[in-house]
């Protein structure tokens, strides 16, 4: 675990960062370093220059504004875990934060860095898809936004341009009738998902008026499952309905076998996890049931 030599730059404003990225030869952006530094130490990544965002204070925020929940590029996993904004209505955020890696990594790693990493096993991409969020990018040409469902391309690849950086990811603010949840299956604490499923539902008069389902670690990117969403919309929540949605999600999934589980198992777990996520999301949307009380499964422990 010995990284190759590299040059380190530490801008203090977004503007400075953008111009550094433009002027340097193939620079690599460093946020929390929790994916990049291990890759460098394994020499899977060997950037000549690194532009470190950690000195840019203006990127350190997690706030509700302009109809969005916004996370700046320096919002750490731990910030989400601890934020008072993250409650019943952002249940999937509350579920996800404590399930990402371990506490040390959560103190450094950023949500935006996780999106930029575009690892299909990353959890935040799934949450972003489930909330139909967007990515805000800055480059020499200024700012642009990329919808979540247009962002991810391949494992570790996305539609961000070489000379762009992400300053923010955001999701529309959650209404009172909205609920979301994330369920992840892993073999031990701190691990990446074998499979994960996020669900979001909006209820009106006992019916689901809007729904999304998105998945982790079962395709080449985080993916949403439009079939399941279509199947749910307009329907009354029920065990049968969720079972069918779970089956649609399982059909949609395209997992691969690895050390931790076979493709068949993962597909079955997509069915199970989607049912669980839908059940929790519904409890939160209707503000009724244990999931609504605690916001997250993990927080329930020790309660």
């Amino acid at each position: 675990m010995k990284a190759a030599q590299f040059e380190h730059h530490e801008p203090t404003t977004v503007e400075e960062a953008v111009s550094l990225i433009e002027s340097l030869d193939e620079p690599t952006i460093l946020a929390g370093g929790q994916s990049l530094v291990p890759m460098m130490r394994f020499r899977l990544a060997r950037p000549e220059t690194v532009v470190d965002l950690n000195g840019i204070d203006e990127l350190d925020y997690l706030q509700e504004a302009d109809g969005y929940l916004k996370l700046g590029a320096l919002a750490r996993h731990a910030d989400v875990e601890e934020s008072s904004l993250i409650d019943r209505q952002y249940g999937s955020f509350a579920d996800t934060a404590p399930l990402v890696a371990d506490p040390q990594i959560r103190n450094r790693g950023t949500v935006v860095g996780s999106i930029a990493q575009s690892d299909p096993k990353g959890d935040w991409g799934t949450v972003l898809l489930a909330h139909e969020g967007e990515v805000v990018a800055h480059g020499p040409g200024g700012e642009r936004t990329i919808p979540a469902d247009e962002f991810f391309l391949l494992p570790y690849d996305n539609t961000l341009a070489e000379d762009e950086l992400i300053t923010e990811v955001r999701v529309p603010t959650s209404g009172d009738d909205e609920g979301s949840a994330y369920h992840k299956l892993k073999r031990k604490v701190g691990d990446y998902a074998m499979a994960g499923s996020a669900a979001r539902v909006v209820l009106d008069g006992g019916r689901i008026t809007d729904a999304t389902v998105a998945l982790t670690a079962v395709d080449i990117t985080n993916v949403s499952v439009p079939d399941a969403a279509d199947h749910l919309e307009g329907e009354r929540p029920s065990g049968d309905l969720f079972k069918q949605a779970g089956e649609l999600a399982a059909e949609h999934a395209n997992p691969e076998s690895d050390e931790h589980g076979s493709a068949e198992y993962k597909r079955n777990m997509v069915r199970v996890l989607t049912q669980r996520a839908l059940a929790d999301a519904t409890e939160r949307a209707s503000n009724d049931g244990p999931a609504a009380r605690y916001g997250t499964d993990q927080m329930a422990v020790g309660d």
Binding site: M1, K2, A3, A4, Q5, R43, L185, R187, K188, V189, G190, D191, Y192, M194, L203, G205, G206, R236, P237, S238, G239, D240, F242, K243, G246, E259, H260, G261, S262, Y265, N268, M269, R271, V272, Q275, R276, A279, T282, E283, S286, D288, G289
Partner: protein, 828 residues
């Protein structure tokens, strides 16, 4: 197995005239004697971050070594180009097999008398095998240099598992030693005919296949060394991560030709060994050769993946067990077949004379008349090793086999597994017990242990809860697993076990100073077991000293007496015995000095263990402590005694010790995901007299964590091309505190009758005993639906597969109850 026929002169000290320590009755003497929970002396430096590990050793002019490793599992080395690396700034040298050949160091012997390349010249036999080495000014430059070494390979078809290696058309791994097949050895034990007869006559027979997967000891400190050749004194000093410094000194001298008195091995603080640091690895030899050639100190420290991918693994036994029994559950015979994967070299870290180590203890805690076992060992294109990992030379595999088979039998007979065990236990009055495979168990009381375990865990309530959950179609199934294992630890005896011919004794040297303090040097070596405390307690107990007045030193071959090292729970059974005997030798001399001081005849002087003093028979006021006598030995030595007070003992044990335990594991199995939650783990261990109950408990906690890792997570896996697919901690999963359930430890005490202080080993008991308890529990949860086995590691995938097959899998939505506002009447 007993070598009682070899009565050594020090045998007379085995039984002390006062009956020896009885910590259960007396709990020490209040000054840190046996049975007292003395805080560990070594913890201050560890807790404050001041431990001194090999990687902390820094020397002037020290260079760094990076090994160039093969990406292929099986490939011919066509050529190696080193020029680009050599031309780099900061790169001092690049070594290949040819360079080592000049010093006759291109190969090295393994602990099983095989020969392994230090650097490969002709053919790579496992992935990440050592091919070249770069020596540079710092570790980053060494790594940069290693990237620039070009090796051309011609890759060959690899053979990754024993089953394939067995095939006639399988690629041959070891042409270098003129092997025509991959077969290494066949080993057989027991009485085949008697066993066959018992099977033919049996009411019931059961059979189960089980694979004890390849594990890695994965100590948190990887292997490494700093070799320092001192040209002026022609002396080689090697600081290394060694569990057996003296044996390594002898091997180093034999391999390098440097005279043994000119080799010094220092094993400083060691960050976990678990058997991984018993063998010698190429990196040590390379660093030493480089230091010799360059006349500068050279450091080599493995990266995590290098450690997991290349150093000694454990297990990899593919086993089939069979039991014959009467219809009321009395076991009449056990039969075992094993297919063993030894990797590319026969390099198992096992010093016994038996090719399969102590595996023939597979009759376990049970009185079984007929037993037979047969094993075939094969070479494959995987890292060499076997044995290592908190295991007395394959006892772990044996215990797993028999403890699983007893459960399989109970299931077949529809009997409670506790009942089947009770029925077959070796009775308490049968000890010393001769097993069908030729061991002499020293002592045991299995019924008492199991009874206590069942009572403490409310076994009957658990069984009721299990039934209730089944009846209620609960989402989570309850499983209760038992393991009533017998361990075998404490190698020697010297005639049965040796390293490079050196018999497996162990040693201690005790020296009392004029002011009454003691320095104790021991041949065994701590890697976290707490020797600095527990060995001081043995001396404190035997000499009546305060434990704070006893300093234990270990790990430096220049000063310590020769020892065979710490692994396989042998320190207390062998080194601890040597320490007690050396103390009794000191006490013997002290007695004559006491007589001189007290001006009475020696027969009139008696030793009182409780007060730690000699006194005149019938006149307790006329007493002297060992400290007083130590002073007298230097300042007023008797006319018929040499001055000074010290003794040394090299102890060749007459037999192993046989600790045992009764474990109860309670699990909940999630029918939706196959996840297993270990709700509780209860471990009752009987390791004879306990020197320090707190240290014993610590050993058990750690070992249970490792047993849980084994049962649930760990597996060094390979793909068909021989690539290690679990070569780092993202894929080779170790349990953390979060995966460890509530553990309850308990004990009974059945002293070893032949050990000077009645102690047995304990370090490996939990790693050996717990995996079958956990597997039995998981199987137990699904048994009502016909599940009879789950292989380790019991991943959620595997468990869910069994649930699905047995019709037990469930979807969360099945019992979903939603209460949604605005919901219209049912039927809408």
């Amino acid at each position: 197995m007993s070598s009682d026929t070899r009565e050594k002169p020090d045998a007379k000290y085995r039984h002390d005239e006062d009956g020896g320590p009885d910590p259960e009755e007396h709990g020490g003497h209040g000054r840190g004697g046996m049975g007292e929970e003395v805080k560990r002396k070594e913890d201050r430096r560890f807790i404050t971050g001041r431990g001194n590990y090999v990687d902390d050793v820094k020397k002037d002019g020290m260079l760094h070594c990076e090994v160039v490793r093969s990406p292929h599992a099986h490939a011919e080395v066509k050529n190696i180009k080193t020029e680009r690396a050599e031309a780099m700034d900061g790169v001092v040298a690049v070594l290949t097999a040819e360079d080592l050949e000049a010093y006759d160091l291109a190969t090295m012997p393994t602990l099983m008398d095989d020969t392994q390349e230090v650097l490969v010249k002709d053919k790579v036999k496992f992935q990440s095998q050592e091919v070249a080495a770069v020596i540079a000014e710092d570790r980053y430059l060494a790594k940069d240099g290693a990237e620039k070494v070009q090796v051309n390979y011609d890759s060959r078809e690899p053979v990754v598992d024993a089953e394939t290696a067995k095939r006639e058309d399988a690629p041959v791994v070891r042409e270098d030693i003129d092997q025509e097949s991959n077969h290494i050895f066949t080993w057989e034990t027991g009485d085949e005919a008697a066993t066959r007869e018992a099977f033919e006559a049996a009411d019931v027979t059961v059979e189960e296949d089980m694979y004890y997967q390849r594990l890695h000891p994965a100590p948190i400190e990887t292997c490494g060394c700093v070799a320092d050749w001192d040209q002026d004194n022609e002396k080689m000093t090697v600081h290394m991560t060694s569990q057996a410094p003296h044996a390594h000194r002898t091997l180093f001298s034999m391999v390098s030709g440097i005279p043994e008195h000119k080799v010094r091995i220092v094993s400083p603080d060691v960050g976990g060994g678990f058997g991984n640091k018993v063998p010698i690895y190429p990196g040590y030899v390379i660093a030493a050769a480089a230091s010799y050639v360059l006349e500068q100190p050279v450091k080599w420290v493995e990266e995590r993946s290098e450690n997991i991918q290349t150093t000694s693994f454990a297990r990899d036994y593919d086993m089939t067990g069979r039991i014959a029994a009467t219809e009321d559950g009395e076991i009449t015979a056990v039969d075992v077949d094993v297919l063993a994967n030894h990797g590319a070299y026969n390099a198992a870290a096992q010093p016994s004379k038996f090719p399969a180590g102590f595996f023939k203890i597979f009759t376990g805690s049970y009185d079984i008349d007929a037993a037979h076992g047969e094993l075939e060992a094969y070479y494959t294109n995987t890292a060499p090793g076997g044995i290592a990992y908190r295991c007395s030379f394959r006892v772990t595999e044996a215990v797993y086999l028999i403890e699983r088979m007893v459960k399989v039998l109970a299931q077949e007979l529809d009997m409670d597994p506790a009942e089947v065990r009770r029925k077959n236990f070796i009775p308490e009055d049968a000890f010393p017990y001769e097993s069908a495979t030729g061991w002499t168990y020293d002592s045991g009381d299995y019924h008492r242990a199991l009874d206590k375990a069942l009572e403490s865990t409310n076994y009957h309530d658990l069984r009721e809860e299990q039934q209730r959950r089944i009846e209620k179609d609960d989402d989570k199934l309850l499983g209760i697993g038992l393991s009533t294992f017998t361990e075998i630890v404490g190698a020697g005896p010297g005639k049965q076990c040796d390293i490079a011919g050196v018999e497996m004794f162990d040693s201690a040297e005790i020296r009392l100073h004029p002011t009454g303090k003691a320095t104790v040097r021991i041949g065994v070596q701590t890697q976290g077991q707490g020797h600095e405390t527990t060995f001081a307690q043995i001396v404190a107990e035997e000499l009546g000293l305060d434990v704070d007045d006893v300093q234990v030193e270990h790990g430096d071959t220049d000063t310590e007496p020769y020892g065979l090292g710490t692994y396989a729970s042998r320190s207390t059974p062998v080194g601890g015995a040597a320490t007690a005997v050396a103390a009794r030798k000191v006490r013997e001399k002290a007695k004559s000095i006491a007589a001189n001081e007290l001006e009475v005849a020696e027969e009139d002087v008696v030793w009182d263990r409780e007060s730690g003093q000699f006194h005149v028979q019938g006149v307790p006021e006329q007493s002297l402590s060992i400290a007083d006598i130590a002073g007298a030995s230097y300042m007023n030595s008797p006319p018929d005694q040499e001055p000074g007070l010290e003794a040394v003992d090299y102890y060749d044990p007459p037999n192993m010790t046989f600790p045992f335990g009764a474990y109860v594991c309670v699990v909940e199995v999630d029918r939706e995901t196959g996840e297993v939650d270990i709700r509780k783990f209860y471990a009752l261990d009987d390791c004879g007299n306990r020197i320090n109950p707190m240290v014993v408990e610590g050993q058990i906690h750690g070992g249970l964590a490792q047993g849980i890792g084994t049962a649930m997570m760990e597996h060094v896996s390979y793909d068909d091309n021989g690539n290690v697919t679990a070569g780092d901690f993202m894929n080779y999963l170790l349990p953390t505190a979060m995966e460890i359930p509530e553990m309850e430890t308990d004990y009974t005490v059945t002293p070893s009758p032949h050990h000077p202080i009645g102690a047995k080993g304990v370090g490996e008991s939990p790693t050996v005993g717990s995996p079958p308890a956990i597997v039995n529990a998981v199987v137990d949860a699904m048994e009502h639906a016909g599940v009879s086995h789950v292989d380790m590691p019991m991943t959620p995938d595997r468990v869910w597969g069994k649930l699905e097959e047995a019709g037990l899998a469930k979807d969360p939505a099945e019992d979903l109850e939603l209460d949604i506002d605005g919901e219209e009447a049912a039927g809408d």
